[in-house]
């Protein structure tokens, strides 16, 4: 997959709250489909569908252990999506640091009315 398309797939996969919850759960360790389905009021089939989306985006993979086939997080992929956002974030952080300084000035002015 091209980098741009892969990124689209990652963001699309992360757009869903259930899938984000699955990612959060896997961040604390591997888990089987049954374990992953437990906190949700959803059938295993529905959870499996979500897992497939996450797998296609490369965000998770499955282990080899025959019966359980535990899913695990592919942290590298998640970092990739994060890196893009980080660059956008830095652009705005510059603006907001200037706003911090301006607000300090405005506060001082309000305390000392002319």
């Amino acid at each position: 997959m091209q980098a741009a398309h892969r990124l689209d797939a990652i963001f699309a996969a992360l757009a869903d709250p259930t899938r984000r919850a699955i990612i959060a759960r896997l961040a604390s360790g591997r888990a089987s489909v049954t374990e992953l389905a437990q906190p949700f009021a959803m059938s295993q089939a529905a959870i499996s569908k979500h897992l497939k989306v996450l797998e296609r985006a490369g965000l998770i993979s499955r282990g080899r252990e025959a019966q359980r086939r535990p899913r695990r997080l592919e942290a590298k992929r998640l970092e990739e999506a994060d890196k893009w956002l980080e660059r956008y974030r830095r652009l705005w952080e510059g603006n907001y640091q200037r706003l911090d300084a301006l607000l300090e000035e405005l506060k001082t002015k309000e305390r000392k009315p002319r």
Binding site: A4, L7, D8, F11, A12, L14, A15, W84, L85, E86, R87, Y88, R89, R90, L91, W92, E93, G94, N95, Y96, Q97, R98, L99, D100, A101, L102, L103, E104, L106, K107, E110
Partner: protein, 164 residues
């Protein structure tokens, strides 16, 4: 004081959400977003840019027009839109469209300010017309960074070039 952290996340298919806490009452944060003489002091983008045009008719249906200029070289960038909701000092909804479209269509921007204990939490949501438009915006964060570096390289090269 520990510097406040700017959080940028995606939400749903088309939203980009920024959250940041400011150590000031929301009235002041709102003013800084709605009074042109304040806006042009901080909304400047990368270093080396100024904001010569900052026209804002802050009322429902009113228009705004912003233009930035790069001090060195004089490159300009402009954008504008319409105020859809104006509810001082807590909520502002505007449309946004750049002169030179670097993402398809326009975005609907919602600013929400919540004050607690003299501090204000700002949430700025940008809703784009499509998922593709949002990806274009996210990726541009990198492109402008790369461009800024090249611009600096140009300056360095110009400064070190010695006439023969």
């Amino acid at each position: 004081m520990k510097r406040a952290e700017l959080k940028v996340t995606t939400s749903g298919d088309r939203d980009l959400v920024m959250t940041r806490v400011f150590a000031a009452p929301r009235k002041l944060v709102y003013d800084a977003h709605t009074k042109p003489e304040l806006v042009r002091q901080w909304l400047l983008g990368p270093p080396g840019w100024s904001m010569p045009v900052c026209d804002m008719d802050v009322r429902v249906g009113g228009k705004y027009r912003w233009e930035w200029r790069k001090d060195l070289g004089g490159t300009t960038m402009g954008m504008g839109g319409v105020y859809r909701e104006v509810a001082a000092p807590e909520r502002l909804v505007t449309t946004e469209r750049f002169d030179e479209a670097w993402y398809p269509g326009e975005s609907l921007n919602t600013l929400v300010l919540v004050e607690q204990g003299g501090r204000t939490t700002l949430t700025q949501t940008m809703r784009y017309e499509s998922r593709e438009a949002r990806e274009a915006v996210i990726k541009s964060g990198m492109e402008s960074g790369v461009k800024a570096s090249y611009d600096r390289l140009d300056e360095v090269l110009a400064a070190t070039a010695t006439p023969r």
